[in-house]
Symmetry: C2
Subunit: 348 residues, 2 copies
C-alpha cells in the first residue's frame, strides 16, 4: 500500500542503506547513484517515515516551544523567531525541524505535562519562554524534569526566563529588574511622586523582578513605597482596566501608572480616559515589552523594549546547535527605555 524505503531501493537497484544515505545526505554517495535514487523517490512519490527513522536513529526533528499563550504577541513573536532559526540546513533529512508549540496557560502542571510529552517524542530540543513560577513543589518538579531532558541529550533553552539551578539548561534571561528601574526612574525624573503600579500574578519571576526594579527606583529617589499603590492582576488588558479603577479609588492624587506590560497599560489608558483623565496631562502611563501595537496607542506608549525577536532567534540557534551557548550558560538580555507621548510632567 504505502511505499517504503525498500521499494525505492528496489526501483533504484541499490540497497536500502544507500537510499537512507542519499536521503539523509550525511554520508558519501556516488553522484550517479544519488541521481538514480532521487529519481526513484520522485517517481514513487516516496515520503520518509518520520517515526521509523526517529526510532532507528534515536532522535527526532521535533523542537518543543513552551509558551503561556500563543495568542499573545509577546509569545507569538518569540515563537516565530525561534521557528525561523530552527529550520534550514544542518540537521538530518534536510535539516527540517518542526516546532511543537505548547500553550501552558502559565500553569506549572501543564508545563510539566507538556515536558513529558516532548520527552516522549524524544524532542531534539525544548525552549521554554516567559517567566516561571518560583515556588512550591512544581518548581522543583520542573527543574527535575529539565534535568532528565538534558541528561537524555535534549538541548534545553530558557528564553526570557531565569536560569534553573543544577541544570544544563541554557538561559537567556531578560533584565526585567533593570528595565523596570529605568522606567520608574524616568517617571520620577519627570517629577512624579505618587506612582501606581499594576503588577502581574504574584508567584511569577517576571512579576517579582519588574516590581523589584520599580521599588529600587523609588528607594533610590527616597520615595516611600506605599503598599496601597501596588495592585496585582493578570498580564492582560482587562486586568489593567480594573486595577487602574482600583488605584484611582485608593489614591485620587495619582499622577502616574506603571503597568506590568503593554497590554495592561492599554487597559489602564482606557480606564483613565473613561474616568475623564487626560494622558499624560493628568496621569502618565507606562508599559513594558514594546509590543507592535504600543507605538500606535494614542498617545504612543512609553515602555521598555525587549528584543523578543532577537532573543527568540538566538534561542532557536542555540537549541539547534548553530550558535555556541553563552559562557556559563547564562546571558542577560537588556531592554531599552522608549520614551513616548504617554508620559509627561505631572500636573500642578
Amino acid at each position: 500500500m504505502t511505499v517504503t524505503l525498500a521499494d525505492v531501493a528496489a526501483r533504484a537497484q541499490v540497497s536500502p542503506a544507500t537510499v537512507s544515505r542519499v536521503l539523509n545526505g550525511n554520508y558519501p554517495v556516488a553522484a550517479s547513484t544519488r541521481e538514480r535514487v532521487l529519481k526513484a523517490v520522485d517517481e514513487l512519490d516516496y515520503v520518509l517515515n518520520g517515526p521509523a527513522s526517529a526510532l532507528a536513529a534515536a532522535t527526532s526533528d521535533l523542537i518543543g516551544i513552551l509558551v503561556n499563550d500563543i495568542a499573545d504577541p509577546f509569545f507569538g513573536i518569540m515563537a516565530g523567531a525561534i521557528q525561523s532559526e530552527i529550520g534550514g540546513p544542518g540537521g538530518r533529512a534536510g535539516g527540517e525541524r518542526l516546532a511543537v508549540v505548547c500553550n501552558t496557560g502559565g500553569s506549572p502542571e501543564r508545563e510539566l505535562t507538556y515536558l513529558t510529552l516532548l520527552q516522549r517524542q524524544r524532542a531534539a530540543a525544548v525552549v521554554l519562554t516567559g517567566g516561571a513560577v518560583e515556588e512550591g513543589p512544581h518548581a522543583a518538579a520542573i527543574a527535575a524534569k529539565l534535568r532528565k531532558l538534558t541528561d537524555a541529550g535534549t538541548q534545553v533553552v530558557l528564553c526570557g526566563r531565569p536560569p534553573v539551578a543544577d541544570t544544563d539548561a541554557v538561559a537567556l534571561a531578560f533584565d526585567n529588574r533593570g528595565g523596570a528601574r529605568q522606567l520608574t526612574a524616568h517617571l520620577i525624573g519627570l517629577g512624579h511622586r505618587r506612582l501606581g503600579y499594576i503588577a502581574g500574578p504574584k508567584e511569577r519571576t517576571t512579576t517579582r523582578h519588574r516590581l523589584e526594579g520599580h521599588r529600587q527606583a523609588l528607594a533610590a529617589a527616597g520615595i516611600e513605597d506605599d503598599p496601597a499603590l501596588t495592585v496585582h492582576g493578570r498580564y492582560d488588558r482587562r486586568s489593567g482596566y480594573e486595577a487602574t479603577l482600583e488605584l484611582l479609588r485608593r489614591e485620587p492624587g495619582l499622577t502616574a501608572v506603571v503597568a506590568a506590560n503593554d497590554s495592561v497599560a492599554l487597559g489602564a489608558c482606557a480606564a483613565l480616559r473613561e474616568s475623564g483623565l487626560r494622558i499624560p496631562q493628568d496621569v502618565s502611563v507606562a508599559g513594558f515589552d514594546d509590543l507592535p501595537f504600543s507605538v500606535d496607542a494614542v498617545p504612543a506608549l512609553t515602555t521598555v523594549r525587549l528584543p523578543l525577536s532577537e532573543a527568540g532567534a538566538r534561542a532557536g540557534r542555540i537549541a539547534t546547535g548553530r550558535e555556541e551557548p553563552p559562557p556559563g550558560g547564562l546571558a542577560t538580555v537588556r531592554g531599552e527605555l522608549m520614551v513616548r507621548g504617554s508620559t509627561g510632567v505631572p500636573r500642578g
Copy 2:
C-alpha cells in the same frame, strides 16, 4: 540505559503486551494488573517512546497547524483555540495531542514543504489557517498534497480558508465578502462617496473576497469604482501607513479609508494623523478582523469581527474527531460589523 516497556513488564511481572494495553487504555485489563503496571511505571519513571509507538501503530499524536505568521494575533488566536481543543481524552496514550505550528510566511512553497514534513511525521490531522494563494502551479500542488494526506487518513481542516475541490478536506470559510460588503455599506450609509481601499496581496483569496465585497457595496449604491482608489499592499501596519499616504496623494478629497485588516487600519490612522487629518471628522477609517487591540485604538476602530477563537476551536474538534464535520464538508463563518468611533459622517 533508558528504560523501556519491557523493563516495566518485567518489574510488574506481566507481558509487554499488557503494559501497552494499560498505557493505551484501549483494551480491558484487570484492575489489579493495571495497578501493578502503573506502579512499575511510576517506580521506573518510565516514559513511552513516541516514535516507536507511532511506528508500530502507524499513527501519531501530532497535529499540524499551518499559519502565515504566528506573531500576528490573527493567527495566534486561531492557533491557540485549535490547541485548546485537541488535547483532552479520546486519543491514544491519554489522548494528548501535540500541535506542530508551522510558519509559512504566506509562501505556497513553504506551505508545501511543511505539508510534506507533516506527512512524514504521519500527523493525525492538519489544520490550514488563513487565505490561500489561488493560482499557478502551487495551488494545484497543494490541492494534490491535501488529497494525498486525506487518502492516507490524515484529517485535513481548512480554517478561514475556502474549500479545495476534489478533496476530503473540511472547510470552515470566513464570509469575507459579506463582511466587507456590510462594512462599506455602513460607510456609504454615513454619506461617504470617495472611499479609498487598501487591499492585501493580490493573489490571495482573502484579499479578493474582501475587495469583491467592497465593490459589491459600491455597485449597490451606484458609486463608480475608481481604480485609483484601490491600493494593494501587505497585511501589516506599515503597508497601511504607506498606502494611505499614496491614497491621499491620489485623492485629497478622500473621506474614508477601508483597510484590508485591523493592522493595516492602524497604519492608516497613523498616516492620517501625521497628515494633520482628524479621525473621523476629516477621514473615517475601518478595519477588518476585530483583533483585541482594535477596541483600544483612539478612536476605537470600526471593523468586522471574525469569530477567530470559535472557528479555531471548532476546527480543533473536527480535526480530532470530536465534532462532526458540517454537511457537505463546508461551513461558512460570518463576521459581525462593529461600529465604533473611527467612522462618522463625512465633512462638508
